[in-house]
Symmetry: C2
Subunit: 135 residues, 2 copies
C-alpha cells in the first residue's frame, strides 16, 4: 500500500506534509524520531505541523508513538491489521534504534483483585544484532 492509498483509506486530505512523513516511514525499517523525519523529508514544515500530523496519523491508527526513558520519542507505522492491545518494542542501548516486534507476544502477569487490563506495552532494552557484534 502506498502513501496516497493509505491517506485515502482513512479519508484524510492528501497534503504534502502527510505524504512526506508517511513516505519516510514506509522506507524506514525502524521507528524514526522527529529529528530523523525532519532530515529525510524534502521541504520544511513547522514543528507544530509535524505534531499535528503525528496526532492525526496516530488518531487514525496509521502510525503509533513509542517513548523510551521519558525523552526519546519515535514514531512507526502501525500494523495495518486490527488494533492490538499488546505492543512490544525493542530499544538498543547503544545506537538508540527502536524497532516494533510485531510477531512477538507475551502473557500479562496476574493483576491485583478487581483490576482490569485494557492495553499493555512492553519495552525491551538491550543491544541490537549490529551493536552486539561491534562491541
Amino acid at each position: 500500500m502506498n502513501t496516497q492509498e493509505i491517506l485515502q483509506k482513512h479519508n484524510l486530505v492528501r497534503t504534502s506534509c502527510r505524504q512526506s512523513i508517511i513516505g519516510v516511514m514506509l522506507s524506514a525499517g525502524t521507528a524514526v524520531s522527529e529529528e530523523e523525519i525532519k532530515g529525510k523529508v524534502d521541504g520544511t514544515y513547522d514543528r507544530t505541523t509535524f505534531y499535528r500530523t503525528f496526532k492525526t496519523l496516530i488518531g487514525n491508527g496509521i502510525i503509533h508513538k513509542i517513548v523510551v526513558d521519558n525523552h526519546l520519542v519515535k514514531y512507526a507505522l502501525s500494523d495495518s491489521g486490527m488494533h492490538k492491545s499488546h505492543h512490544v518494542h525493542f530499544y538498543c542501548n547503544r545506537c538508540g534504534m527502536v524497532k516494533c516486534l510485531v510477531g512477538a507476544d507475551f502473557k500479562t502477569p496476574d493483576l491485583p483483585e478487581g483490576y482490569i487490563e485494557m492495553e499493555t506495552e512492553l519495552i525491551v532494552k538491550g543491544f541490537c544484532s549490529h551493536c552486539n557484534l561491534v562491541i
Copy 2:
C-alpha cells in the same frame, strides 16, 4: 526501615528535602508525581532541587521513575532487594494511579537473531479496582 536509615545506608547527607520526599513515598501506597510530592511535603523546594534529589535517589537505587504515555511522570520507592531487570507497572486510565506490581513477572518474548535483552519494562493500562466499581 525509616527515612534516616535509608539515607544513612547509602551514605547520603540527610537533608530536609531528601527526608521529606522519602517520607512522602513511604506513606504513599502508590507512585507519586512531582505535583503530589510538592503538595504533601512541608516546606517548599525549588523544582531544580526536586529533580536533583530524584536523580540522586534514583542513582542510589532508592526510588525509580515510571513514565506513562510520555508526559505523566511518577516516582516510587524501589524494592529494597536486588536490582531487578523486569519492571511491571499498572496505570489506571481513569484516576491516573500508578502502582508497582512487585510480585508480578512475565516471560520476555523471543527477540530477533542476535538481539540481547538487558532490561525490560512492562506497563499495563486499564482500570484499578476502585475505578472498576465506580463505573
